[in-house]
């Protein structure tokens, strides 16, 4: 019998169309053990709650500033700046803010309550859709994730686990028992580069996938690999080729599809809300030409592996890229 501690939840995204097949409810858990420089969910990284400020809703009443005892809030020309190092997470400012402009990301849920919440869209799941558990790194809360996946499966819900894979192999494989689909990130094949861009090595990530692959294949579970195409980090031909070779090799049999997800900068406002700078704030979208070249390259390496190749995300057209 597993323990059921409260679950540290970042967000529940209903009618998600991007986290697996069909319509899904995606549970984003908080806390991550990687520090990818391009991270699109910066508010998910820290396991502790994070206070953030939403410019659009702010009515400029300064109630937050009046109530803060720690000098963690500064009124700047660009709005409210939150000095995370001074913030005691007392959340007085969040309580006081009338518009919800200051809000906290990260909430403890009882696992049963969370389960009920995840079932609300059951009517829309159909045969393909279901629940995806994502993060942050969901497997940093392995008991809760395993309990939820198992409970969902027993209820007849299709389940997916979205992990970056830098976790204990046994816990990973245990959780996987109850998932119908594994969404797995492979970002960089070069260990040193992986370390440089994500703060962690890739040995265990690759190893975990190799260990999981036979089980996935045997039990008829689906495996989708995702690779973010990040300019200057993961978008080199060498990297894409190396991933393709890996996929076509030791794990190939288990892989159903591989998505190359083009970089976008839609998360810029999240960094602003958190009062943080973002290394990619001025980075342009990948050109459609570059994306197509990577897809062609990947396809030629995959050859007859039977892996479906998909390109997703926004690109800019080559004709306007010189402006």
């Amino acid at each position: 019998m597993l323990l059921k501690p409260p679950v540290n939840v970042l967000n529940i995204q209903r009618m998600s169309t991007e986290d697996g097949p069909g319509l899904r409810t995606t549970l984003f858990l908080k806390g991550c053990n990687l520090r990818c420089a391009w991270c699109h969910n910066p508010e998910s990284i820290d396991a502790r709650p994070v206070v953030q400020w939403n410019k659009v809703r702010c009515i400029g009443c300064r109630s937050c500033n009046d109530v803060c005892q720690n000098g963690a809030l500064r009124l700047t020309e660009r709005g409210i700046f939150i000095a995370a190092e001074n913030c005691s997470l007392c959340l007085d400012c969040v309580e006081e803010c009338p518009s919800g402009s200051l809000n906290v990301k990260g909430e403890d849920f009882e696992v049963e309550k969370l389960f009920t919440e995840l079932l609300k869209d059951r009517a829309y799941f159909g045969e393909d859709g279901g629940v995806t558990i994502s993060g942050g790194e969901p497997l940093l809360q392995p008991e809760a994730v395993t309990w939820l996946l198992e409970a969902l499966k027993k209820t007849g819900i299709n389940t997916a686990l979205d992990t970056a894979g830098l976790v204990n192999t046994d816990l990973f494989l245990r959780a996987l028992q109850h998932a119908d689909l594994l969404l797995y990130d492979i970002k960089l094949m070069d260990d040193a580069e992986h370390r440089r861009h994500t703060g962690g090595g890739n040995a265990r990530i690759l190893d975990n996938l190799v260990k999981a692959a036979p089980f996935l294949k045997e039990s008829g579970k689906r495996l989708w690999i995702r690779t973010p195409v990040i300019p200057g980090a993961t978008d080199s031909k060498e990297n894409i080729r190396a991933i393709a070779v890996f996929l076509a090799g030791p794990v190939g049999d288990a892989v159903e599809r591989w998505e190359l997800c083009a970089f976008n900068n839609l998360c810029l406002h999240k960094y602003e809300s958190l009062g943080r700078d973002w290394a990619y704030k001025d980075t342009a979208l990948v050109t459609d030409q570059a994306m197509n070249e990577l897809l062609l390259l990947a396809a030629s390496e995959l050859k007859s592996s039977g892996i479906e190749l998909h390109g997703t995300g926004s690109t800019r057209s080559t004709s306007t890229s010189e402006e």
């Binding site: 995204q13 209903r14 009618m15 169309t17 097949p21 069909g22 319509l23 809703r57 009515i59 009443c61 109630s63 009338p98 518009s99 919800g100 402009s101 609300k120 869209d121 009517a123 829309y124 799941f125 159909g126 393909d128 859709g129």
Partner: protein
């Protein structure tokens, strides 16, 4: 950015008609109103009560009446004309106008006859009748003044208007008007001599005479076609004209023998309803077109007709439906007037025992819609249910993907039928609506559910702002602001006859506040019912429509005109406007005052009187921190359900005095949620005066932060959700009329086959959890902004607003901004 949908696969014939139609005022031919007077001094031609639900035109009533009178041709009437009953005078007058007074044209290439039908006719009143009617309607303290004040004070509006029903067209196709004529003769012969001399006899004679109008008109058109054929040089066209002439010798007097005749019969029968009511296309709907035209389609196909010929006939039908808009083609309009008139038809749907009724004609009609789209009329409404085939959903989603305003509405059978069965129970008409026939329901106008051929449910006649009850609760039966006469700017006297439900200081709990609110809801419903009742009686006395009555089962049998309550099923629908704003206001009162104690009720009232100026923190808390309807939040939605039950139950308590019609609840807001937003004061949900109210059953704009599925779940829950003892298959539905629900999606949901599967999954889920009807918009904000800046590039861009399609470029700036805002908030 996807391109704007354009028509395709149009033959030269249809292309010409299509382009000609869109030349608008530049056309040489049009179907503009033609006016005809009896010649009596101060003859009345314009029925203003038809327009009491259109506040935009209140200031034009006298102008319209005078202008029509001045432009009217005077009919030569027989000496005994005014000795006949009013119904017989009307039948005679309309018949004479349509057969002798109106020019007849066949447009180049057109395969259907029946061009001009927009007429404005003498009401055929004697001077004594005119005087009495004038006193009741436009005299001091007449109905006109009452309606103005009702609207100016933000209660809403009401008036007995035309259309909004499905005439018994299949019976005409099957038996012809000859069959009706003979049947009405038999009914007449069965009357006692006294009855024959009385109103019953008069009404029957009028209905019978009305049946001759289509016969004579068709004969005249037949001659016209023969004449044209004689002069026609093109062999093919001459053959067509000869066939049209032959068709018109058969239909609509005799049963239709093939598909072409069936469509010809349907068109003439239908257009004359609009002539009879002197109103173009107001929700006069066709019902289950793919079901009752199927036998004719199959017969013609078996006899060698090819599909494209069949579609060509249908496309001509499409063209004719759109000419309804010519009525006031030279009169500039705004905010919805130029939008869909609502000649609706249904496709597919459930049959007996839950079987699916999709057939070959369903798909042919979908093809016609797709090829003709974007075009306003007729308005398709596709009925979906649990057993709808995948093939149909694929087709529908494909069509949604290819056009900005989905080219049809979607109706959901289980929920809709649950509402109809609830209605049968409430109104005690289970003999007429029951599990054996409820699947044959259809929708009129925008999405209002009714039965076919025997039902007038007055689906747009009463439009009630529920939010008014919040104002009156906070004011202890008094208004929070001074209201002004919108024509003259004169302040209304402050007195209202609302109940004193308690000074707000006296409420110690939310339950007490809600009890007071409930009393005010009952008051506003009663106030509307009483006002409508007076108008209904006036229409019953003064405005018979014998031709329409001849097409609705129950009228001849009861000897009553349809305006007198002759239909077998007769309802008056109260459409509640501002539902979510009202629910959110209650939620905000509970949150701000009783749960969080951020202010007292008096302070909240002061804030509303000040339009939130100086109360910005409180306003922000109301908007952003108080719970809202539309988030699948069980507690909030439970209150929504409670409000729904409250007003729906109260509505069922009333019937009209003169016509015995039962009031029933529905939710449709046309454009009132915009205009009333400028009238009603600020509301506790944080809305300032001048901001829009919520639309039909939709959550307040921007409140549905948990996305479309949560939004749909809330809507289904507000209607009653599902339960073991549900009205139908476990479904509950408090609103037999149905409820308008719009959801806007970003184009990304339609970009690939894989994404379209997701949209299908949404629709299947909606059938389980959602409401009665759904409109889908697929547009992105960037395209709309561009359309606002360059309207000429987007003349064909259709968007959906409260159940009707509207050309984006033709609607007012406020509504455009609203639609853009609605879209942008979905982009997060």
């Amino acid at each position: 950015m996807p391109g704007v949908k354009v028509p395709y696969n149009l033959s030269p014939r249809i292309k010409w008609l299509y382009d000609y139609y869109f030349q608008g005022v530049d056309r040489k031919w049009n179907n503009e109103f033609l006016a005809f007077s009896s010649g009596v001094k101060d003859d009345c031609l314009f029925e203003e009560m038809n327009f009491y639900i259109v506040p935009e035109v209140y200031s034009f009533f006298n102008t319209f009446n005078k202008a029509f009178n001045q432009n009217a041709a005077v009919l030569d009437l027989p000496d005994d004309f005014f000795r006949r009953s009013l119904a017989e005078r009307k039948a005679f007058f309309t018949r004479k106008v349509m057969v002798e007074g109106v020019p007849r044209e066949i447009l180049p290439g057109d395969l259907l006859a029946g061009s001009r039908f927009n007429i404005v006719c003498s009401k055929c009143w004697t001077p004594q009748q005119a005087k009495k009617r004038h006193r009741l309607v436009s005299g001091t303290d007449g109905l006109r003044q009452k309606v103005y004040a009702f609207k100016d004070k933000g209660f809403g509006n009401c008036g007995p208007t035309s259309g909004h029903l499905i005439p018994d067209y299949p019976r005409v196709l099957e038996r012809g008007f000859k069959g009706l004529y003979e049947y009405y003769g038999e009914l007449y012969e069965k009357l006692s001599p006294a009855e024959k001399q009385g109103e019953k006899g008069a009404n029957l004679r009028a209905m019978r005479e009305a049946c001759l109008m289509p016969k004579e008109l068709a004969a005249a058109y037949s001659t016209k076609c023969l004449n044209l054929a004689e002069r026609e040089k093109d062999e093919m066209r001459r053959a067509e004209l000869l066939q049209m002439a032959a068709n018109l010798e058969v239909v609509p007097w005799l049963p239709a023998e093939d598909f072409w005749q069936a469509v010809q019969s349907l068109w003439i029968t239908h257009m004359l309803v609009m002539s009879d009511e002197n109103y173009p296309g107001p929700g006069v709907s066709f019902g289950r077109l793919d079901q009752y035209l199927l036998p004719y389609w199959q017969k013609s196909m078996a006899n060698g007709m090819d599909i494209e010929t069949g579609k060509e006939i249908l496309k001509c039908f499409w063209f004719h439906c759109n000419t309804a808009y010519d009525a006031m083609i030279r009169t500039g309009c705004n905010q919805g007037i130029t939008s869909g008139y609502g000649q609706l038809f249904n496709l597919s749907g459930m049959g007996k025992d839950g079987i699916d009724m999709t057939n070959e004609l369903t798909y042919v009609l979908l093809e016609v819609i797709d090829e003709m789209s974007p075009i306003l009329e007729p308005k398709p409404n596709v009925r979906l249910h649990r057993n709808s085939p995948d093939e149909l959903l694929d087709r529908i989603v494909e069509m949604i993907a290819g056009s900005q305003g989905a080219p049809f509405l979607l109706n959901f059978d289980e929920r809709s039928m649950a509402g109809m069965l609830r209605q049968a129970k409430k109104a005690g008409c289970e003999n007429l609506i029951n599990e054996e026939n409820v699947f044959d329901y259809a929708s009129v106008g925008c999405l209002e559910n009714t039965m076919c051929g025997n039902d007038r449910s007055a689906t747009v006649d009463c439009n009630l702002n529920l939010l008014k009850a919040i104002e009156l609760t906070l004011g202890n039966g008094r208004e929070l602001q001074v209201y002004h006469d919108s024509l003259w700017g004169k302040p209304y006297p402050p007195a209202v006859d609302a109940p004193r439900t308690g000074e707000v200081e006296s409420f110690t709990s939310f339950e007490e506040f809600f009890a007071a609110f409930a009393d005010q809801v009952k008051y506003i419903i009663r106030k509307m019912v009483l006002l409508y009742d007076e108008m209904d009686a006036v229409r019953a006395e003064f405005s018979p429509t014998p031709y329409l009555s001849a097409l609705v089962r129950g009228c001849a049998e009861s000897g009553l005109d349809i305006t007198q309550g002759g239909a077998e099923l007769k309802f008056i629908t109260i459409e509640a406007v501002t539902f979510a704003t009202t629910v959110d206001s209650l939620l905000a009162v509970k949150y701000l005052v009783f749960d969080q104690k951020l202010c007292s009720l008096s302070e909240l009232t002061e804030a509303l009187k000040a339009n939130w100026v100086g109360f910005e923190k409180l306003q922000a808390a109301a908007i952003y921190k108080a719970p809202k309807f539309g988030r699948d939040d069980h507690e909030a939605d439970a209150l929504a359900e409670k409000v729904m039950e409250l007003w729906a139950e109260e509505t069922w308590r009333y019937k009209t005095t003169a016509t015995g019609a039962q009031f029933r609840p529905g939710m449709l807001s046309w454009n009132y949620w915009i205009s009333s937003g400028y009238i009603l004061p600020a509301s506790p949900d944080g809305r300032a005066r001048g901001q829009f109210l919520s639309n039909a059953i939709c959550p307040v704009n921007g409140a549905d932060i948990n996305g479309p599925t949560a939004n749909a779940n809330s809507v289904g829950r507000a209607l009653g959700g599902q339960s073991e003892n549900g009205d139908y298959l476990g479904y509950n539905n408090s609103l037999p009329n149905g409820a308008s629900h719009t959801i806007t999606f970003n184009p990304s949901i339609t970009k690939s086959k894989e994404q379209r599967e997701k949209l299908k999954a949404f629709l299947r889920g909606y059938a389980e959890n959602g409401g009665t009807a759904l409109q889908i918009n697929i547009v992105d904000a960037a395209m709309l902004r561009d359309a606002q800046a360059h309207p000429d590039n987007y003349r064909h861009l259709l968007v959906r607003v409260t159940g009707y399609n509207a050309y984006f470029a033709s609607i007012g700036r406020e509504l455009q901004d609203e639609i853009i805002a609605r879209e942008e908030h979905q982009c997060f």
